[in-house]
C-alpha cells in the first residue's frame, strides 16, 4: 500500500506487485494467493500478510508487537525462522511479547516493563523464566492462579446438542454452581461462538440451553440476562464497553431498570452502584465520570466484569477474561473469579491461555473443529492432555500428572489464541 511499483504514467505495475508479493509469501513459507482480499482471511493469515508487509520494507529495525498472538505453533516457528534470517542480515528486532517461551527462544536481551514503568534490561542468558516472571509481576507466580476449593452445587447451566451449522455441532455440557469450567481449544475451534450462542447473541440452529432448569428463549440476550446469564465478551472495546460513555454509565448499562422506576434513571443510584463495584474490584480510576477509554486494558476489563456482575448472575460466561491485561490485574481477575465460584456462581471460562485454564478450572472442556472432544477433570488436566485433545490427536487424556495446575510456571505451550 502506497509503495506499489510504478510504470510509466504512474500506473501501478500489477505484475510486479504480484510477483514481489509471491516472493514475500515464499520467504515466509506460506501459501496465500496474492490476489485475495485481506478480508475473509483467517486472523492468522491476516497476521502473516501484515508481517509480509513489514518485511517488504527490508526493514533495518523491525518492531513486532505480539506478532504470534494469533499464530499456531507451526506458523510461529516459520515466523521465527524468518526473524532469524533478518537478524542474520543485520536487522535489529524489537519483539514485544508476553509469551516467555518465545522470548527465551528468540531473543538475546530482554527489557521488562511493569505498570508502564521500566523494570530491568538484561541479557537473557542466565535468566530463568521464574526470575523474569518475578520482574513482570513483582511477586511470585503461585499467586497468579489463586484457585479456591468450592462446593459444587446443582446444575446452573445445561447446554444440550447445541448446533450452529458450519460453526459447531452437538455441543452438550453442564456447569454447576460453584464450578469454574474452562472451554479450551485452538483458534477457530468454535469456543467463542458457543459462548455467543448460549447467551443468545447468535442464534443456534438446533439444541437447547437451560438455565436453572428452565429452557432459555434462543437468540435473545435480554432473555439470557433475565434468566441470570452474564457474558463478558472477548472483544472488550467493541462489545464489552460503550467506549464513549463514562465508567459509571457503562457499569449501569446492564441494570438500567433497577436504577429507578418507569424508565427514569436515578443518577445517584447509578453512581453509588458503580462506586461499590469499583471498590470491590479495586478499580484504578480518576473519576467515575471519566470515559472508559482512558482506562488501562486491565481496568477496562474490570469495568466489564463489574457491569455484568451487577446483574447478579447465576451463570457467568467469561471469554478470554485476561487477554491483553497486565499480569498483576490478571491475578486480581483470577482471584475474583475464584471467590465468585466459591460463593456459588457457575463460571464458564473460554480461554486460550493454557496455564490459566489449568490453574483456574475445575473441569476442562476441549473443543476441536466445532465439536466438544474431551472433558478433563482438574486432576488429569495437563498441557499435554489438553493440547492433545485440542489438536484432535486423541480424546484420551494424557499422562496423569499430580495436580500440576497451581503454580504452573510455563506459559502457553502452543499458539492457541483466537
Amino acid at each position: 500500500m502506497g509503495r506499489q511499483p510504478r510504470r510509466a504514467l504512474g500506473r501501478i505495475d500489477h505484475k510486479a506487485v504480484r510477483t514481489s508479493t509471491a516472493a514475500l509469501m515464499a520467504r515466509l513459507g506460506v501459501e496465500l494467493d496474492p490476489d485475495r482480499p485481506a478480508r475473509g482471511l483467517s486472523i492468522a493469515d491476516q497476521q502473516i500478510v501484515e508481517i509480509a508487509k513489514a518485511l517488504s520494507f527490508d526493514a533495518r529495525v523491525l518492531i513486532m508487537d505480539e506478532p504470534t498472538a494469533a499464530l499456531t505453533g507451526s506458523e510461529t516457528a516459520r515466523l521465527f525462522s524468518v526473524v532469524e534470517t533478518l537478524r542474520a542480515e543485520g536487522a535489529a528486532v524489537l519483539f514485544i511479547s508476553h509469551r516467555l517461551e518465545e522470548i527465551f527462544e528468540l531473543c538475546q536481551r530482554v527489557t521488562t516493563l511493569r505498570d508502564g514503568r521500566w523494570v530491568a534490561s538484561e541479557p537473557l542468558s542466565g535468566l530463568t523464566q521464574d526470575a523474569l516472571v518475578r520482574r513482570m509481576v513483582g511477586r511470585d507466580l503461585a499467586e497468579l492462579y489463586p484457585k479456591q476449593d468450592s462446593r459444587v452445587g446443582e446444575t446452573a447451566l445445561s447446554v444440550r446438542r447445541l448446533t450452529r451449522e458450519g460453526v459447531f455441532r452437538d455441543v452438550s455440557f453442564e456447569v454447576r454452581r460453584g464450578e469454574i469450567v474452562a472451554l479450551a481449544g485452538l483458534v477457530g475451534a468454535g469456543r467463542t461462538e458457543v459462548a455467543q450462542a448460549v447467551f443468545g447473541v447468535d442464534r443456534a440452529d438446533a439444541g437447547e440451553v437451560r438455565v436453572g432448569g428452565a429452557v432459555l428463549r434462543p437468540g435473545s440476550p435480554t432473555a439470557a440476562m433475565d434468566a441470570g446469564l452474564a457474558l463478558v465478551p472477548e472483544d472488550r472495546r467493541q462489545r464489552g464497553l460503550v467506549m464513549e460513555m463514562s465508567i459509571e454509565r457503562n457499569i449501569g448499562l446492564t441494570g438500567l431498570d433497577r436504577l429507578g422506576r418507569a424508565g427514569l434513571v436515578r443518577r445517584a443510584l447509578e453512581r453509588g452502584r458503580a462506586a461499590d463495584w469499583a471498590v470491590r474490584l479495586q478499580l484504578k480510576y480518576g473519576s467515575l465520570a471519566d470515559h472508559v477509554g482512558v482506562l488501562s486494558g486491565g481496568n477496562q476489563q474490570k469495568v466489564v466484569l463489574a457491569k455484568w456482575l451487577a446483574t447478579e448472575p447465576t451463570v457467568l460466561i467469561v471469554d478470554e477474561p485476561t487477554r491483553g491485561i497486565d499480569v498483576g490485574t490478571k491475578a486480581e481477575v483470577h482471584r475474583l473469579l475464584s471467590s465468585l465460584a466459591a460463593d456459588g456462581l457457575a463460571v464458564l471460562m473460554v480461554s486460550s491461555d493454557l496455564p490459566e485454564v489449568l490453574g483456574m478450572a475445575d473441569r476442562v472442556l476441549v473443543m476441536h473443529e466445532g465439536r466438544l472432544v474431551a472433558e478433563i477433570p482438574r486432576a488429569e488436566a495437563t498441557e499435554e492432555s489438553v493440547m492433545a485433545a485440542a489438536t484432535g490427536l486423541a480424546a484420551a487424556t494424557g499422562p496423569t500428572g499430580d495436580d500440576g495446575a497451581t503454580g504452573v510456571t510455563g506459559v502457553t505451550a502452543e499458539g492457541t489464541r483466537t
Binding site: 440476562m225 462489545r239 454509565r249 448499562l253 438500567l256 480510576y285 480518576g286 471519566d290 482512558v294
Partner: protein, 347 residues
C-alpha cells in the same frame, strides 16, 4: 495490544486528579455549546453595530420565529443521529404535513389543536415507515431516508397538483398560533423550547435516552447489554418524524400560504445544524441543546447576512465552512482530550 508509556503526573494528589479530570471532560463537552453561544453573541453584536434595527423588538421576534422550526427539526434529527443513523426525509415530511394540514383546515373552522395533532400524525406515519425499514429491514438509513425524501415529495407534488393553500382559507385560530405571543415572546419559539427541554430531559435521565447513546456509540456492546436496539431506533425515527410533522403544522400557522415544495432542501440544513451543534455524525455523543444552538446559529447567520445586504449564496458557503470546521474541531479535541485524560489517570 500496543503499549503506550506516559509519564505519571506526580504533582497532583489523587482526589485532586479526580476532580480535574472530571472538570476537563465536562469542560470539553460544554466547550462546544459555549463556543457556539460565543460565536452567536459575536455575530449578533457585530450585526447590531452595523445595523441597529437588527436587534429592535421586531428584529428579535423575527429571529426567534425563523429559528423555531429549524430548532424543532434539529431536536428530532439529533435523536436519530445519536443512534448512528440519519433522517434525510425531514424536509419533505414538513412539506407534506404543512400541505396536509392546510388542505384539511382550509375553509373550515377546525381548532388549532386538531391541526397540530394532524401534523403530528402525518409525521409520525412517515417516521414509522423509515424507522421500520431501518431497524427491522436493516436497510442503511441513508438509503431509506433518501428514498423516503423522494417518495414523500412525490406524493406531495401529486396531491398538490400545483395548487396552493392561501392564508385566507386558513382559520384565524391557526394563524394566531403563528403570529401571537405571550409576554412578548412569540408562541413558536416557546413551543420549540418546550420540546427541546423535554427531549433533553428524557435523553439525560431516562433509560431510553441512555440506551440511544449506547446504541450510537457501540451497537455491539448495547446489544450484548440487553438494549432493545430495533425498538429504540424505531422510536427515534418515530420521534423525528412526529416532530417534523408537528413542525409542518407550525409552518402552516406561521406562513398561512403553503405550496407543495415547502421546506425543500431543509434536510441538509438540519443535519448541518445538528453536526455544528456537536452531535457526532457517527453517533453516541452530543446533546439536543447543542443541536438547537447550531440551528439558532445557522438561522442567525442567514438573517444577519440579509440585514447586512450580503448575497444570500454566501449563507450556504458559510454554513458549509462551519460544518467542516465543526467536524475538524471535534476530531482534534477528542484526540487531545484522550491524551490529556490518559496522562491524568496514569498513577
Amino acid at each position: 495490544m500496543s503499549v503506550t508509556i506516559e509519564k505519571p503526573d506526580k504533582s497532583a494528589a489523587a482526589p485532586e486528579t479526580a476532580r480535574s479530570a472530571r472538570s476537563l471532560v465536562d469542560a470539553v463537552f460544554r466547550a462546544r455549546e459555549i463556543s457556539i453561544a460565543g460565536a452567536l453573541a459575536l455575530l449578533v453584536l457585530f450585526t447590531w453595530i452595523a445595523e441597529p434595527r437588527f436587534l429592535d423588538g421586531q428584529g428579535i421576534k423575527d429571529l426567534l420565529l425563523n429559528a423555531a422550526i429549524l430548532v424543532l427539526l434539529a431536536v428530532g434529527q439529533s435523536v436519530v443521529v445519536i443512534t448512528r443513523n440519519i433522517d434525510l426525509s425531514v424536509g419533505s415530511v414538513v412539506g407534506l404535513s404543512a400541505f396536509a394540514c392546510g388542505k384539511f383546515v382550509s375553509g373550515t373552522d377546525h381548532g388549532v389543536l386538531t391541526v397540530l395533532a394532524l401534523g403530528l400524525l402525518v409525521g409520525a406515519g412517515c417516521g414509522i415507515v423509515s424507522g421500520a425499514l431501518v431497524s427491522f429491514g436493516r436497510v442503511p438509513a441513508l438509503v431509506v431516508t433518501l428514498g423516503m425524501l423522494y417518495i414523500i415529495q412525490g406524493v406531495d407534488y401529486w396531491w398538490a397538483q400545483g395548487e396552493q393553500i392561501n392564508a385566507a382559507d386558513v382559520p384565524q385560530s391557526v394563524l394566531d398560533l403563528g403570529s401571537g405571543s405571550v409576554l412578548g415572546i412569540p408562541y413558536l419559539p416557546l413551543i420549540a423550547f418546550v420540546v427541546l427541554a423535554g427531549t433533553a430531559y428524557v435523553l439525560r435521565t431516562y433509560r431510553g435516552g441512555r440506551e440511544l447513546y449506547a446504541i450510537g456509540s457501540s451497537p455491539e456492546a448495547a446489544r450484548l447489554a440487553g438494549v432493545p436496539i430495533r425498538r429504540r431506533v424505531l422510536a427515534a425515527y418515530l420521534f423525528s418524524g412526529a416532530v417534523s410533522g408537528f413542525a409542518g403544522a407550525l409552518w402552516l400557522a406561521r406562513f398561512g400560504t403553503v405550496v407543495a415544495d415547502n421546506a425543500h432542501g431543509w434536510e441538509l440544513t438540519v443535519v448541518s445544524a445538528v453536526v455544528v451543534g456537536g452531535v457526532a455524525i457517527v453517533g453516541g455523543t452530543g446533546t439536543v441543546w447543542g443541536a438547537a444552538l447550531g440551528a439558532l446559529l445557522l438561522t442567525t447567520i442567514g438573517s444577519a447576512l440579509a440585514v447586512l445586504k450580503v448575497d444570500s449564496f454566501w449563507q450556504d458557503a458559510i454554513a458549509g465552512a462551519l460544518l467542516l470546521a465543526a467536524i475538524s474541531v471535534d476530531r482534534i479535541v477528542r484526540v487531545r482530550m484522550t491524551r490529556a485524560l490518559r496522562k491524568r489517570s496514569a498513577r
